[in-house]
Amino acid sequence: MNLGAATYVRRKLTDRIVRSLCVLGTVIALIPLASVLYYVVSRGIGGINLDFFTELPKPVGESGGGMGNALVGTLKLVGLAGLFGIPPGVLAGIYLAEFGASKFGGAVRFAADVMSGVPSITVGIFVYSLVVVTTKQFSALAGGIALAILMLPMVTRTTEELLKLVPESLREAALGLGVPKWRATLRIMLRTALPGIAVGVMLSVARVAGETAPLLFTASNNSFWSTGVMDQEASLPVNIYTKAISPYEDWHRQAWAAALVLLMTLLILNVTARFLVRTRVRAR
């Protein structure tokens, strides 16, 4: 077959044009990412010092102080979210993977997909009316519940998808050895999918750790160390918000520093998760 020299020249040209368009698109997509990173680092680095991690915020007018309480608060909120969100999420994921072919399974899956699209502020309002109004106070508990609700669909779907990736032949191998189905599911299927599920859970933790809107009227904020889970709770994202909209130069600096710390934490979580996936795949 010979289509003539002109055709081949045209094909090569088309190839070049399309390829350079793709490169251009990639560069455009990278610009915001790189500039956010650069901007946050350059503005935030000045506010990072030991006090930032250990001290309480100082009142307006006094310089110095830190966000120790917000750091601990974010850890606490994420911990509560994990406590409430991960176990039911993983169990629901197992249910969907094992018995999800039913009509009810389809409904659960659909609900999970819809839920992961619900704006986070809506979840905040929901938990406000459910928990904050009934207990008559803002609390870490309410914040944790709000974040857990956001995590739930992510954890559920990740668990389901990863369980479905485990070859059916392993289940058959286990059943063929006279192992009851529930034990085959837990000891073989879930065990095989576990590293992947752990990574998925880490990513969903990273996502909710940066959420602000659902915390605004659940955990609210706190200028002091909180005790227990029924206290108002400071968190990094909410602190970034309140400090950034304030008129004080010193608070702006702190907001940038908090943004940097949050960004780095999430970046580390993400990179670790991805690294784990890669080493796991290579080990196969």
């Binding site: 289940r171 191998a173 286990a174 006279g178 095989t192």
Partner: protein, 314 residues
Amino acid sequence: MNMDFSTSLAKKAAQKKVDDAEPKPAETRPTPESAKPTTMEPAAATSPEIASRPRWDEVSVSQITAKMRAEDLHASFGSSEVIKGISLPIAEKLVTAIIGPSGCGKSTFLRCLNRMHEVVSGATAKGKVWLDQQDIYERDVDPVRVRGRVGMVFQKPNPFPTMSIRDNVLAGLRLNGVKLKDPDGQVESALRAVALWDEVKDRLAKAGTSLSGGQQQRLCIARALALEPEVLLMDEPCSALDPIATARVEELIHELREAYTIVIVTHNMQQAARVANFTAFFYLGQLIEYNRTQVIFTRPKEQRTEDYITGRFG
């Protein structure tokens, strides 16, 4: 071991002009030493367990000492019936091969023998399958217990990827909550039984999936044997293996039949001829012919069997 049975047996049959198409009961048939087919494994004849019974190569299908027996077995996936009423005895401590073209129901039949068929959603089976004196399809029979007595080896080697070689061998026992008295000894004897011990004894802690395909399949056989099943079902155990690994697994089958009742599904007719004492030919969900292997491959009664084994279809 790897001799071509169909031709060597055909020659012998032609020389002796023994008509075996309608095998008579062994007692009534004159069996001069010279008329005995001597091509199959002499070891089988000298083995004490087998010597105590009539020699399998003198036994007609109707006289089989059955370890298992299917009776009018039907199996379906949803509304499509893939096994249409099969009755078949499985000879104790011998090898039974099931051959037939793709989609004839061989694997489904095999999976009915340890109630693995119903594991697939929408799959149902009815009829009777006797294991000794027990119909395994009776309502109060727990399929999980049946599978402990009737082990299975699958088409693709499927060691558990999260477990070491050692843990794979013990997996069946551990997952069933059996207290292990001598785990090391059990690992060694199971691995020796499949002739894998010498190859892996220095790396028992390595992942089961780090082995080659043939080794993985032998590991899976060891895993099944560790449960000390009475019957071993093998669903095309060599189809994912190269000829050398296949030869090893076939040798293994020869050794295992001293202690186990084996049913093997195979696409490879030479393999059936090499390893099986009895062969069943399935076609479109029905049993077309069932007889001693050398009869099936040399003097089949049915035209369809002959067409299949001579490669005219399938």
